[in-house]
């Protein structure tokens, strides 16, 4: 069995978590944090400031003809949206190297992360709105383990896992047989290395096999699990691991996921994703719009 912590400490080019992301995740759920605290993080980062300006002045926000400056944009967007924008922008840094082992380019990694995050957020909004922001962040980092395995093993990783795959076996089970661990466990170890809150790390660890009961059961994990499947159905997070994953029965029941509800969740996630992408100048095929 692979020693996950050794795996993480041995990789020189380990994905790094931008400082702004750590700061923002630390602020989640803290009622004493004001929009000014979030604004301070934005102001010191040029790329973030540009992204915030683009959002606040984009059609997605129904902006009238006048343009808003940075300060007005920050107030206009509000704390929750501002936090989300910063995290979306920063996710691009985490995923900038792509993930060749899973045949996922930088753009597709980012899109899959945001799509799953939006779907998890939407599940939380419906069933426990207090967990909305946490579900978004956890959805965003749920597959960071794939980055570690890509750096550690390259294309050999998926090839070895595929040799253990059969029609009714999940990719995660095949990973465990081939390597003694899986990308969710490795992702959780990376989240702990990044010192993200334990609740996030645990939800990442179990996002493919959410515990139904007991101490490890957490609604947050259920939301991220369902969000991950919605992203897979839509195709946006698909890599060479395909759709060899399953939706847990107890999550299907507790979230009242009917076929129609699932189709609506896919359509709604896609719409939300496109609004974000349009504001960031990203085309429908996931590539950055060229500036004429």
């Amino acid at each position: 069995m692979a020693d996950i912590n050794a795996l993480i400490s041995d990789i020189e080019s380990l994905p790094t978590l931008p400082t702004a992301t750590s700061q923002l995740v630390g602020m989640l759920g803290d009622d004493d944090v004001s929009i000014n605290d979030v604004a301070e993080i934005v102001r010191v980062d040029e790329a973030l400031s540009i992204a915030v300006l683009r959002y606040a002045n984009s059609a997605a926000f129904g902006t009238p003809s006048r343009k808003f400056d940075l300060r007005e944009s920050i107030v206009r967007l509000g704390r929750s949206t501002l936090t989300k924008i910063v995290l979306e922008q920063q996710a691009a840094t985490v995923f900038s190297g792509g993930c060749d082992a899973f045949e996922l380019s930088r753009e597709r990694l980012w899109r899959g992360a945001i799509g799953g995050a939006l779907a998890a957020e939407s599940m939380a909004a419906k069933h426990n709105p207090e967990l909305k922001d946490l579900a978004f962040v956890t959805g965003l980092v749920r597959d960071v383990g794939k980055l570690v395995l890509d750096r550690a093993y390259g294309a050999d990783y998926v090839a070895s896992v595929q040799s253990k795959l059969c029609a009714d076996r999940t990719f995660v089970d095949a990973e465990r047989e081939a390597f003694g661990t899986d990308h969710a466990q490795v992702g959780a170890a990376l989240c702990r290395y990044w010192q993200l809150p334990e609740r996030i790390s645990r939800a990442v660890e179990y996002h493919h096999c959410p515990p139904e009961s007991g101490d490890l059961h957490d609604e947050l994990t259920d939301f991220v699990h369902a969000g991950d499947i919605v992203a897979l159905w839509s195709g946006i997070s698909l890599g060479s691991d395909g759709l060899q994953y399953e939706l847990a029965d107890h999550v299907k029941k507790s979230l009242k996921l009917s076929r129609r509800a699932a189709e609506r969740a896919i359509a709604s996630m896609w719409d939300s994703l496109r609004s974000i992408e349009e504001a960031l100048g990203i085309e429908t095929d996931g590539t950055k719009r060229s500036v004429a």
């Binding site: 076996r169 999940t170 839509s234 060899q244 076929r259 896919i266 496109r274 996931g286």
Partner: protein, 175 residues
């Protein structure tokens, strides 16, 4: 969403037209390749008229626009029942003739252990066939089902359609 009626003159040399998720594109060849990536439960449909070198590709996500008519108005390529007619209509506008069209499809995969509860991919496949059957369109070849991700390619040089999955290529047309 973007619906392009591209031609060789608008396509950068050597670069294929990429059809995104819930997107479609039609073009006139030769010298044009169209591709769509990451077909999971979604289905990619290709059409090609060898007499005019006009062809196109649709990547739809869901079977039925009735779940949200507003979304279908804004983005018809998201659904089979609104995207497929639009793909054909756009190809006709570039000179394609229905009786010449070679039609292929790929995708419609499922997640595991989905014993009839959701069947998103299967519903996509069923609705696709129903629409073709109602409109007297014959599906020349398809590579659908399973649980793998697929990439679909169409060449407007000769109508060649290929599906790639985990490094393997399966040529759907010519058969």
């Amino acid at each position: 969403m973007s619906i392009t009626a591209a031609s060789t003159s608008t396509q950068p040399a050597g670069k294929p037209i990429t059809v995104g998720v819930a997107d479609l594109s039609v073009a006139k060849g030769p010298g044009v390749n169209i591709v769509t990536h990451a077909l999971g439960s979604c289905i990619g449909v290709t059409i090609y008229d060898p007499s005019t070198n006009v062809g196109g590709m649709l990547h739809f996500m869901l079977p039925d626009s009735k779940i949200n008519a507003d979304k279908a108005d804004g983005n018809p390529a998201m659904f089979a029942d609104t995207g497929i007619p639009l793909l054909f209509k756009n190809a006709y506008e570039l000179g394609a003739k229905k009786e010449n069209l070679i039609v292929c499809a790929a995708g419609g995969a499922e997640v595991l252990a989905d014993s009839g509860h959701f069947k998103i991919g299967s519903r996509n496949r069923t609705v696709l066939r129903k629409i073709f059957w109602k409109n007297n369109v014959l599906l020349s070849a398809d590579d659908t089902g399973g649980n793998q991700s697929r990439t679909l390619h169409l060449s407007l040089d000769d109508g060649r359609v290929a599906v790639r999955n985990r490094g393997m290529e399966n040529v759907l047309w010519p058969i």
